[in-house]
């Protein structure tokens, strides 16, 4: 302290200097602290997820055991209140074994005619007169058992209805001719 005073004294006398001290006049800006509070929102509810799954025999399985039960007052599924739960045990459904039911139906097939196609191309025996053309050969046919014959002209097929009670077995062939001349017509001949 004395040293500083001595320094100032000699400076003033010998160097003519006066110590000038700087005194700041400005004040520091005050620190502004906000008292506003931010509230962090955290949901405390448990998130409910509803997962659906379809079972192939869903209508035969009742999924309602104790583990599945919860109060309808507490839970809402997609906004809708759950009102009712099916009660009961887990029910399993057995798949029935594949079966083939066989039905007898003789009447169905008895009315169907037998069919004969024209096999003239294979028939080596072709008896014919000069004034006729051989058109077709149908066989074998048991002539004495025949009840009705019809020619399907569009398909060239002969339809045969047999008498189901007949005991005849002698088969023949049926030739179809076209007669030439003024009175041109078709003619059937058994051989």
């Amino acid at each position: 302290m004395i040293t500083q005073e001595l320094k100032d004294y000699f400076c003033r006398h010998f160097l003519g200097r006066v110590k000038v001290s700087r005194l700041p006049v400005g004040m520091e800006l005050p620190r502004v602290v906000s008292c506003k509070r931010e509230a962090a929102v955290h949901p405390v509810r448990t998130r409910i997820e509803v997962t659906g799954s379809s079972l192939f025999v869903a209508r035969d399985i009742l999924c309602s055991s104790r583990g599945f039960r919860f109060s309808s007052q507490l839970a809402r599924v997609r906004g809708a209140k759950i009102a009712k739960y099916a009660l009961g045990e887990l029910r399993t459904h057995t798949v029935p074994k594949l079966r083939a039911a066989v039905l007898e139906n003789m009447r169905r097939v008895a009315v169907l005619p037998q069919e004969r196609t024209n096999r003239l191309q294979w028939q080596p025996v072709r008896p014919k007169k000069d004034d006729e053309i051989l058109l077709a050969w149908f066989g074998p046919i048991v002539e004495d058992a025949v009840m009705k014959l019809t020619l399907n002209k569009q398909q060239g097929v002969l339809l045969i209805w047999y008498n189901l009670q007949s005991r005849r077995f002698d088969a023949k062939g049926l030739y179809l001719y076209r007669r030439l001349g003024a009175r041109e017509n078709l003619e059937w001949r058994w051989l």
Partner: protein
């Protein structure tokens, strides 16, 4: 079950668009029907298709339909005829009788009715001239069929071909099934 030595049994099993059914027709040697049976159509559900997997079709055709039909027939035929070659073996094991597969051919006729010729394929497959007014028929017997049994069966075919067309009953079965399907 009455056995008839003068009858032929035709059996058809169909499976298309997921629908299976079958029919059998026993005829005398003139083609006159003696017994006709058919199964209700079977349409396996999706679950059954999953459960049975690839075995479903074989099970339906070879066991369920074939076995049910052959078991239900009251007139036991002397010979069972099918038109699907893969049914020959199961039909043989189900019926324990004579069985063959029959199909038309476009081959030139052989010399005489009763002639048979090995078709040169695997198994017992023959070309058979059943009558003198048609092309030979392609006939397949179950494996291990003895030669004398083949000749005996061909003899029956020749006998039947004198009074009926051997493949014609398949057409009638088809028509009967079609009419049942329309109901």
């Amino acid at each position: 079950m009455a056995a008839s030595s003068n009858s032929l049994g035709y059996i058809v099993v169909e499976g298309a668009d997921g629908l299976f059914r079958g029919a059998s027709l026993v005829v005398d040697l003139r083609g006159i029907p003696m017994d006709f049976r058919h199964t209700d159509p079977i349409r396996p559900t999706r679950l059954e298709r999953i459960l049975y997997g690839s075995a479903l079709e074989v099970y339906l055709r070879e066991e369920l339909i074939l076995e049910s039909l052959a078991g239900a027939v009251e007139v036991k035929p002397a010979l069972w005829i099918c038109r699907e070659p893969d049914l020959v073996a199961p039909l043989k094991s189900v019926t324990k009788g004579r069985v063959l597969f029959l199909a038309p051919s476009s081959r030139a006729p052989m010399e005489a009715a009763g002639n048979l010729e090995n078709a040169g394929e695997n198994g017992a497959v023959y070309m058979v001239q059943a009558d003198s007014v048609s092309a030979p028929l392609r006939v397949a017997f179950p494996d291990n069929t003895r030669e004398d049994e083949v000749r005996q069966t061909v003899g029956l075919l020749v006998e039947a071909a004198k009074t009926m067309e051997l493949l014609e009953p398949f057409g009638r079965i088809q028509k009967a099934l079609a009419s049942l399907g329309e109901e």
